[in-house]
């Protein structure tokens, strides 16, 4: 991504995030049922959207494209790694903001509800993916291994999404992406939530782009260091070989017995 585009996305993310905070905390009215707690809804669903659907969806898609021979490229592996790391941060924030909303609403910080538990499991699975990336291996082996792990972990995403439908949960159903696709949220609240989605999505894109650059630089430095150490090793072995070669050039001299000084009595044989 070009630096100008990346910078523009970053600036747009900052502006829209500031607008979301301003609208969410000071402009929109409190909810009839939830009161001021509705203000947490302007950030919690957008963060969850980025974690579950954008980050882990992108990671699964990239992993699939890596595993498919026709599209296999380290680009997809790096993109998956970048999306997963950012996704893990957003996933953890999803759990934290949800917990802060749940304490005054449900009376508990945590409950073993299907939506909460499957989301926590998702975090653990993708933390496992990150741990797997740190296991030393050839880049291709690591990429293949991690791609399989990402696809395995992604199976939990539809479970998280449909958990509120499949099981009776404390967590409410979808407000915007419901079955009828008719948002059950009104006026300024809907616009603020939409702006929240835009802001967090822009921030997500910026983070993944920067994280991808880090992955490229890391590979670059790895390759360069490898080349330097190989060159150093070759230089060293070249010097040693040269030493061996000079020694081999005069083998008889090296093996000849030392000339005895004149007048030496010679070896004494003791019988």
């Amino acid at each position: 991504m070009k630096p100008v585009v990346l910078r523009s996305i970053g600036v747009a993310a900052i502006v829209t995030t500031a607008a979301t905070i301003w609208l969410g905390l000071w402009v929109t009215p409190p909810d009839k049922v939830q009161g001021d707690l509705v203000r947490l809804v302007y950030i919690h669903p957008p963060i969850a959207w980025c974690a579950l659907y954008l980050a882990f969806g992108l990671a699964a898609l990239s992993s699939l494209l890596y595993l498919w021979r026709r599209t296999r490229s380290m680009f997809w592996d790096r993109l998956a790694a970048s999306a997963v790391e950012v996704g893990v941060v957003f996933n953890a924030l999803t759990l934290v903001t949800g917990s802060i909303w749940g304490r005054p609403t449900w009376g508990v910080w945590w409950t073993w509800d299907a939506r909460l538990t499957s989301t926590a499991l998702l975090l653990v699975l993708f933390l496992g993916y990150m741990a797997l990336r740190r296991v030393p291996a050839e880049p291709e082996v690591r990429a293949k291994r991690c791609a399989v792990a990402a696809l395995f972990a992604f199976v939990d995403v539809p479970i998280v999404h449909f958990s509120v439908v499949w099981w009776q949960t404390l967590h409410q159903g979808a407000t915007v992406l419901n079955a009828n696709l008719s948002p059950t949220i009104h006026g300024s609240m809907a616009w603020t939530l939409l702006l929240g989605f835009v802001a967090i999505t822009l921030a997500f894109i910026w983070m993944v782009a920067v994280r991808y650059r880090i992955e490229v630089l890391r590979d670059e430095i790895g390759e360069e260091e490898l080349e330097v150490s190989l060159a150093e090793r070759r230089a060293e072995s070249g010097t040693v070989e040269a030493g061996f070669a000079s020694a081999e050039a005069t083998p008889t001299m090296a093996l000849q017995p030392r000339p005895e000084p004149a007048g030496h009595p010679g070896p004494t044989v003791v019988s």
Binding site: L40, H44, I47, L217, E224, R234, G238
Partner: protein, 53 residues
């Protein structure tokens, strides 16, 4: 402090810290790449003098 304030502060502080960590890591790696490149150039001629590829 209300739950709402706590939620906003925690969420945006974590995101801010993560952004800072990304920028620091990127800067550090860019410097490292810039340092490694000349070192690599310096070593390669001595290796080629020996006729090694």
């Amino acid at each position: 402090m209300s739950y709402v304030d706590a939620g906003y502060i925690i969420a945006f502080s974590v995101l801010f810290l993560y952004v800072v960590s990304l920028l620091v890591r990127r800067r550090r790696l860019e410097r490292a790449v810039a340092n490694v490149a000349p070192r690599g150039d310096a070593v390669q001629p001595s290796a080629s003098q020996d006729g090694t590829p």
